[in-house]
């Protein structure tokens, strides 16, 4: 193990030991790199579907239990989430710069930037841990510690000012006519009793409200937190795996174990890291921002 020799001041350092070796099953170095990139993208495609199914489930329940989801989301700290987005975007920048350094054969620089990526990734998980601890103390963890007390702020000073979104909807829906406007024509007169509304919203079918009232506001809010913990937890697992792989690759780059294989390893973990960043780019608005204008 020797100390890193390449420095940022010497960008195109063409040491013969740093030249990429062409493996015999490939025609040329371009094809060799393309094979790795395509393999990684095939994996990322399965990851897109993996997270996509959860996001779709969230969209469906968000439509069905909209008011309770708004109340539940008000417990999340918008600013901690925004800070975490900032941290993760910064880690994506350092990772992209690490790939750039690796392509320019700036080994020491690449190692530094990989370590910076790990630091930002760990900071993200730290903030997430703080948020989950708060959720635990506020009894918002389904199945482990759950006690629904309404939206954030409602239990401090109970009054009409802290009316929940669910209560507001319930008030406008009193009487037989759940829609406030008069002369409303039912959109689906052939609706059958007990129909689960899905995406269509309130209807004039009296059985609809009976059916829906069986699910309490607390249970609907609990559904939000089930999806919240599944999505952020799955994302955090990806972050932990990513940090571990970045650590291994940073070490192997530093001690020259990866000499002769080009920048491929750093490029591939870079693709993974940016993908995990993209997942959070979607998770942040759908989980944190749906209740902001009410708070």
């Amino acid at each position: 193990v020797s100390a890193p020799t390449a420095s940022p001041a010497a960008p195109a350092h063409h040491d013969t030991a740093d030249e990429t070796i062409l493996l015999h099953q490939f025609d040329d170095l371009e094809q060799q790199e393309l094979s790795s990139t395509l393999g990684m993208w095939a994996f990322l495609a399965t990851e897109v579907m993996f997270f996509g199914g959860l996001v779709f489930a969230f969209f469906l329940y968000r439509n069905q239990y909209h008011d309770q989801f708004v109340d539940a989301s008000s417990h999340l700290n918008v600013w901690l989430g925004a800070f975490n987005t900032l941290v993760l975007l910064t880690s994506s920048l350092t990772m992209a710069l690490a790939v750039r350094a690796a392509r320019l054969k700036q080994r020491a620089n690449a190692v530094k930037l990989l370590i910076a990526t790990m630091v930002f990734g760990t900071a993200f998980l730290g903030v997430k841990a703080v948020e989950w601890t708060t959720d635990y103390h506020e009894e918002l963890i389904p199945g482990i510690r759950w006690n629904w007390k309404g939206p954030a702020g409602a239990h401090h000073g109970a009054g009409p000012a802290h009316e929940t979104a669910a209560e507001k909807r319930a008030e406008t829906a009193t009487g037989n006519d759940p829609t406030p406007d008069e002369g409303h024509v039912p959109r689906h007169p052939t609706l059958s009793p007990g129909f689960s509304p899905g995406l269509v919203g309130p209807t004039e079918n009296p059985d609809y409200t009976v059916e829906m009232s069986k699910t309490s506001d607390g249970n609907k809010a609990q559904m939000f937190f089930v999806l919240y913990f599944f999505m952020t937890g799955l994302h955090a697992i990806h972050m932990i795996i990513g940090i571990a792989i970045v650590a291994v690759i940073a070490f192997l780059t530093w001690n020259k174990w990866l000499s002769g294989v080009g920048a491929t390893h750093i490029e591939m973990i870079g693709l993974y890291w940016h993908f995990v960043d993209i997942v959070w780019v979607y998770l942040y608005p759908i989980l944190y921002l749906i209740s902001m204008h009410k708070s």
Binding site: D28, L38, G198, E267, D277, I278, M292
Partner: protein, 120 residues
Amino acid sequence: MSAIDQPYSHSHGSATGHGHANEPHVMPLSLYYMIFAILLALLILTVAIAEFDLGSMGLAVAMIIATIKAILILMYFMHVKFSPPLVWVFSTAAFAWLVLLFVYALNDYFTRMWMDVLGK
């Protein structure tokens, strides 16, 4: 083989501006910082817009901003913009399958009430 090689070599050559196959494509540092600045601006924008009640449009606007951010990360940080066509096919297919999932599942959820079918 040549069908894969040729467009790849062509796009690589035109994107980098030189013909050396062993020279990797590298973007200038300023471009990385510019993309990062745009991403931060979009983050501030999505939080600022969430302050206003846009009704059902709120989610759509947030998703459009998130998609712009995702495309910037895909194109520049993940280098898809400078990658051979086959990488475009793979990366686009990943999200195209997601669109299929959403479209056909929504197809089901939107139309469930249209007919009086037992067991739905």
